[in-house]
């Protein structure tokens, strides 16, 4: 497997001032994002199963990153509508890590509080909170808290399903906690001090 040091990754990026946003997103993305290689062909936007609900197609987001349009990108719902299906990733002729770039944009939007619709970010935050509390996901807690806050009306419709899941033993009212919670907390606390740049 080809490996790239961060110096090599950086060398692929031009240091022009107006490319700093693209650079920042690329460096913050897991692996070697290859974001700078986008040729604007649109195979990502064409592939996206949830593309019709996006403010901008992924391709447009990449063009906006190049243009340094920080606020517009971080306010876009595009990364939040991404369903992580990886169709765009396997079809991208430049092998850009598109899905992972979407994750980076979400994280940046949360950090800078730029997102517009709060439902998705808060769902993610709740999920992460549960994992950090118990070490495992806790669907019942997650679902009830999420729906109560963001979709109280939908809660009615969902209740039937949730009840079904509970009845069939597919959802537990009690969370499971791992034994090494202290260890996990220590790891995550240390990890939160660091960022990939």
């Amino acid at each position: 497997m080809p490996t790239m040091t961060d110096e090599q990754v950086r060398a692929h990026l031009t240091h022009e001032e107006d490319l700093s946003l693209l650079h920042e997103v690329s460096m913050k993305t897991a692996g070697v994002s290859r974001l700078e290689m986008c040729i604007q062909c649109g195979s990502c936007g064409g592939s996206c199963p949830s593309g019709m609900d996006m403010d901008h197609t992924p391709r447009m987001v990449f063009a906006m990153l190049r243009a340094g349009m920080r606020d517009e990108v971080l306010q876009s719902n595009t990364p939040w509508v991404c369903v992580s299906c990886y169709h765009c990733v396997v079809r991208c002729p430049q092998n850009v890590h598109i899905t992972d770039v979407m994750y980076t944009l979400k994280a940046m939007a949360i950090r800078e509080k730029k997102y517009r619709d709060v439902a998705a970010p808060e769902f993610a935050e709740t999920f992460v909170e549960m994992v950090e509390k118990y070490g495992r996901s806790y669907e019942f807690g997650l679902a009830t808290r999420h729906y109560l806050k963001h979709a109280p009306l939908r809660m009615v419709g969902m209740a039937a399903m949730g009840l079904g899941m509970l009845r069939k033993g597919r959802m537990s009212m009690k969370p499971r906690t791992i034994k090494g919670m202290d260890q996990l907390t220590a790891i995550l606390n240390k990890a939160k001090e660091m960022e990939l740049t």
Partner: protein
């Protein structure tokens, strides 16, 4: 040799290159240091000059050679790739063997890439010291001359090979044209129209094919392959395998009665691109050159089951010969032109476009055959059912090209090919045509005008790489159609466009056996797999092996005009050599000191140019200087130290290392 401290007299010339060098390197300091510190190494004079490559600069050197009796020259200036020849020639004019002059690169490798003047100056000194130590060990070399055999081998009977063969044959020299298919014509013979002028491919190609077949100076060897290449520029001996046609060419009149009578119909994957049929005994088409059919033994009833012999019975001249065996010919030629062409990208690999799964997805070559009046549908554009005329057609560019998952390069012809298809569909069916492109590339003469013509005709262009072609309908409108899903990047929205037919503009890729063919002829391939030119811009038809030229799509994707131009260019290069009668070779060669060779044969397997041979009777290995390309791999490999490399000898390189490290190794200095 007059001596100076036991060493030849060396002159050192340090160039300012205006301020290019002087800005970062203290030129005067280097000059003074060379004169003093390198005095013991043989330096008798060190000078600096604003522009050494200027006439006065060169004259400075010439004057010193004559007046001071310099025996070696070091010019510290730019890269040897720029001015090595300049200064070698200057030395030569002054009566010094040109190979006794060395360039020390202190511009590209020092002043342009470093910023600290102190460190750059120190490095420049080291580079100069390396060159001085090296040049002392240089030996005078003489150029090598070899005669040229006037015959030429052209491999590949497509339009490029045909062009090259005709150019040389018309100049009065013998050509052997080898083609592995039963007839010549190549891909072009399959096409219907050619862009941008829309001439019919057959109309312009067929006369050339006939001329080639009839030419007194061209010996046509179809259904044949080169199996062995020995020798070197001017003097190749080539072995050619003639596969059996199972038919005596001298008796065959080309009447094609056997073809008509043959009861076995098979899908023609070559000429008809898999959408038409041929017989088990066949010629690619009625106009095939040569006219002789060939028996496809894998499908022939007689060869498979032992009965039939209809062709033999029906032949009016008794030309059929089931006993025929393959033959091997040896020919002597002075030059070789490889015009081996390309393979079409296998569209099945792009599984999201559905070729092979969805019936009405076609490749460009299938579509070419479909459009061709002599093709399987007699020129009618129809769906896979063979009947229905499409009402909506989608054409997809860049299939397998410009994509790291397949071929990373632009195939260069697909844009124009797609535009041609769009025009043909419109003209013949009146269908709605969608054309999906990433970038429209129409850079040659009259190409963009053709694009405009197709725009005018009403083709609907969508800028976007198609994401998928599917038959999974989401609504009634899509039912029964192929749905092309794409981001229309100019709108910024995803679109789903239902069509009846999809044409994939598949790209070109290197022949599947290009690597082995390259090896056979001693030339290399790029990482993409195309044959590598000697120089991509300035020497595009030559290769690293003297006497082996490449032309057409064997060296990379090209359209017909560019391929033909390269065929002519390669022919011109060949004629140039033939008419000079001899060729001069660089004297950078490996030589085996016969008295030191132990005959261990370790070097024997190392030469890709087959320059090394083992003399069994004397139990030593020998290098043919005309075949040797001077890479030096055998020099580095000889365990007995019996191979020396002129121009890059161990003595020269070890001395250079000494010089380069003079400042850090007080012991050796």
């Amino acid at each position: 040799m007059s001596t100076n401290n036991g060493k030849p007299k060396v002159g050192v010339y340090v160039c300012h290159c205006g301020t290019n060098i002087a800005h970062t390197v203290d030129v005067e300091q280097v000059r003074d240091w060379a004169a003093q510190a390198l005095g013991a190494e043989g330096v008798v004079i060190a000078r600096d000059y604003k522009f050494m490559c200027s006439s006065p600069g060169q004259e400075l050197i010439e004057k010193d050679i004559k007046e001071l009796g310099l025996e070696r020259v070091v010019v510290a200036a730019c890269s040897p790739h720029l001015h090595e020849m300049t200064f070698r020639n200057a030395s030569k004019r002054a009566g010094l063997n040109p190979y006794l002059t060395e360039l020390a690169s202190i511009r590209e490798q020092v002043s342009w890439v470093h910023t600290d003047k102190g460190l750059a100056t120190e490095k420049a000194k080291a580079v100069v010291a390396g060159a001085v130590e090296r040049v002392v060990k240089n030996e005078p070399l003489d150029e090598i001359k070899v005669p040229i055999h006037p015959a030429t081998l052209v491999v590949g009977g497509g339009i490029t090979g045909i062009q090259a063969a005709l150019e040389i044959a018309n100049a009065g020299y013998k050509v052997y044209l080898v083609e592995r298919e039963p007839s010549i014509g190549g891909h072009m013979a399959q096409f219907d129209k050619t862009f941008p002028t829309l001439d019919c491919a057959a109309c312009i190609l067929t006369p050339r094919m006939f001329e080639t077949g009839m030419h007194p100076n061209i010996e046509l060897l179809t259904w044949s392959e080169v199996t062995q290449v020995a020798g070197y520029v001017g003097n190749f001996t080539v072995t050619i395998k003639k596969k059996p046609r199972y038919l005596k060419e001298e008796l065959c009149t080309g009447c094609r009665i056997c073809v008509e009578k043959c009861p076995k119909k098979v899908i023609d994957h070559v000429y008809e691109a898999g959408i038409g049929y041929r017989k088990a005994i066949y010629t690619s088409s009625a106009q095939a050159v040569p006219k002789f059919p060939v028996i496809d033994t894998a499908n022939c009833n007689f060869f498979q089951k032992g009965t039939c012999k209809v062709c033999e019975k029906s032949c009016p001249t008794n030309a059929i010969d089931y006993e025929q065996k393959e033959q091997f010919l040896k020919v002597d030629v002075g030059n070789i032109i490889l015009a081996t062409g390309y393979d079409l990208f296998d569209a099945r690999r792009v599984s999201n476009y559905g070729y092979g799964r969805l019936a009405n997805v076609f490749t460009s070559i299938e579509f070419e055959r479909m459009c061709n009046a002599a093709g399987p549908t007699s020129g009618k554009i129809v769906l896979r059912d063979g009947q229905t005329t499409p009402k909506t057609v989608g054409i997809i560019h860049c299939v397998g090209s410009r994509d790291r998952n397949y071929n990373n390069y632009c195939s260069s012809i697909c844009c124009m090919q797609s535009l041609k298809f769009a025009h043909l569909v419109k003209e013949r069916t009146g269908a709605t045509v969608y054309d999906f492109y990433i970038d429209m590339r129409t850079p040659m003469k009259s190409y963009d005008e053709f694009y405009q013509r197709v725009l005018e005709e009403g083709t609907l262009f969508v800028r976007g790489k198609v994401a998928q072609v599917s038959d999974a309908a989401r609504n009634a409108q899509e039912e029964g159609k192929l749905i092309i899903q794409v981001e229309d990047t100019l709108v910024g929205k995803q679109r789903r466009i239902p069509v009846d037919m999809v044409i994939l503009s598949t790209g070109m890729q290197p022949r599947h056996d290009a690597k082995e063919v390259g090896k056979l002829f001693g030339i290399g391939c790029s990482s993409d797999g195309w044959f590598t030119e000697k120089h991509a811009k300035l020497d595009p038809v030559a290769t690293m092996t003297e006497g082996v030229l490449i032309a057409g799509t064997a060296a990379g994707p090209k359209d017909i005009p560019a391929s033909v131009a390269q065929g002519s260019a390669a022919a011109a290069r060949v004629l140039n050599l033939i008419m000079r009668h001899e060729v001069t070779l660089e004297p950078i060669k490996a030589i085996i000191k016969q008295w030191q060779c132990s005959g261990c044969r370790i070097c024997n397997g190392l030469c890709p140019f087959n320059a090394i041979s083992f003399r069994a009777e004397r139990r030593v290995s020998e290098i043919n200087p005309a075949l040797c390309q001077g890479c030096g791999t055998c020099v580095a490999a000889c365990p007995a130290g019996a191979i020396s490399g002129s121009g890059f000898s161990n003595d020269q390189i070890l001395a250079q290392i000494d010089g380069l490290l003079m400042d850090v190794n007080p012991v050796s200095a």
